[in-house]
Amino acid sequence: MSQAALLVRGRVVDARGRPVAGARLMWHSAPVDLPDLAALSGADGGFVLTVPVTGPYRLACHSDANGQTIVDVSVAADGSQLTLHLPR
């Protein structure tokens, strides 16, 4: 079921809606094996991740200062867009 890379774009924000830079993003679960890298959110809280297939994923986001969150992402053929809200 391989296809062109699918992009998951998003932003990480804190409890006040401000962008969080340097948050660590990684796939907690996925329908296929994935590289065990972790991405860092940019200065604007933004990130772009790549997955190989559509389906249900679980994305984890960790920040030492702002806490952590895990969200379910259903990646479609045109990718996905989301905002991750950290608890602090």
């Binding site: 907690h28 679960s29 329908p31 590289p35 890298l37 972790a38 860092l40 940019g42 389906g55 249900p56």
Partner: protein, 318 residues
């Protein structure tokens, strides 16, 4: 209309052909299974390993190999209810921490062997940043995953290719850098990864400008038989992103299965541990036998150090 059949010539491509972001170099091919020994560096304060092949880490106990390491039994969906179409198509999502999280934190990262593992801050060609792990095999050489040094098939404009730089922090312990930090811009991998993006060739090295490995020491590495690997405890220590920033975490488990180019194991990992050594302890010495690369469903996996990988690591070791 008759056509003259074209003669075809089969071209054998060497997917282990070494490639670099610097000048091309030929890879030496050695057809023998040998081990390169480890070195413990300066004032190592090494702790002896446990007899079960794992490290003696406070709070860690080697768990017995799980009986269900083969593919999970599939249960037919209950037809009296409608479940998420995504789950029916793709099955349960795969996690990289399997069952209870066995990982323990390593705080004595200024001692051997923990200091041979380095926290990596990777800057890709598009300036996006990532975290990974590498491990010393020589004074200036760290082994890591191919996808740590060369991004493939990202789908993001400007991201694919050799990464710009990697900040290497050996023995990092949170905000403490006992061996400082050095920025590397010299990397090597193989065409099986950089050209084909084949996960079975997902390995590479980072070459440092300074011989930091003389202080930290390094792991040995070897090409081991299937029988040796299946009988081994696999040890992994690295820098997972789901733990406090820059902390080193360790886990170990018996190896689940091997193939010609991959090793599969139920050792807990998380994003950020790409590139970690999967190593065994034999006669008190530590030898890497795979490069951790992928998180999966029932098992995680790494690129096996087979004869070709061994030959390349030997050629790249400086």
């Amino acid at each position: 209309m008759a056509t003259t059949p074209k003669s075809t010539k089969s071209v054998k491509i060497n997917l282990h052909a070494a490639t670099s972001n610097e000048a091309d170099e030929a890879s030496a091919v050695v057809k023998r299974s040998v081990m390169k020994p480890p070195a413990e560096g300066l004032n190592p304060k090494t702790v002896k390993a446990v007899s079960d092949g794992s490290e003696a880490v406070p709070g860690f106990k080697l768990r017995a190999a799980a009986a269900e390491l083969s593919a999970e039994a599939f249960k037919a969906p209950d037809t009296s209810k409608l479940s998420d179409i995504g789950e029916a198509s793709f099955g349960p999502a795969a996690e990289t921490v399997h069952g209870p999280d066995d990982r323990v934190r390593i705080t004595a990262t200024n001692t051997y062997p923990w200091r041979v593992h380095a926290s990596l801050l990777i800057t890709a060609a598009d300036n996006s940043q990532w975290i990974g792990t590498g491990w010393f095999i020589g004074p200036r050489t760290l082994v890591t995953a191919g996808h740590v040094v060369y991004i493939k098939n990202s789908g993001v404009a400007g991201r694919d290719g050799w990464v710009r730089r990697i900040q290497v922090m050996p023995g990092r312990n949170g905000s403490t850098l006992p061996y400082g930090s050095v920025t590397a811009t010299s990397f090597k991998s193989v065409t099986g990864w950089t050209g084909s993006g084949n996960a079975e060739y997902d390995y590479g090295v980072i070459i440092l400008p300074t011989p930091l490995g003389n202080s930290t020491g390094w792991l040995g590495f070897g090409n081991f038989s299937d029988a040796d690997l299946r009988a081994s405890t696999g040890n992994i220590s690295g820098y997972p992103g789901d733990k406090p920033s820059g902390t080193q975490w360790y886990d170990a488990r018996r190896i689940a299965s091997v193939s010609a180019r991959k090793v599969y194991y139920d050792i807990d990992t998380a994003g950020g541990q790409s590139g970690s050594a999967v190593y065994r302890i034999a006669s008190g010495n530590r030898y890497g036998f795979a490069v951790h690369a992928y998180g999966g469903g029932s098992t995680n996996s790494g690129t096996r150090i087979n004869a070709q990988v061994y030959a390349n690591l030997l050629a790249w070791k400086v």
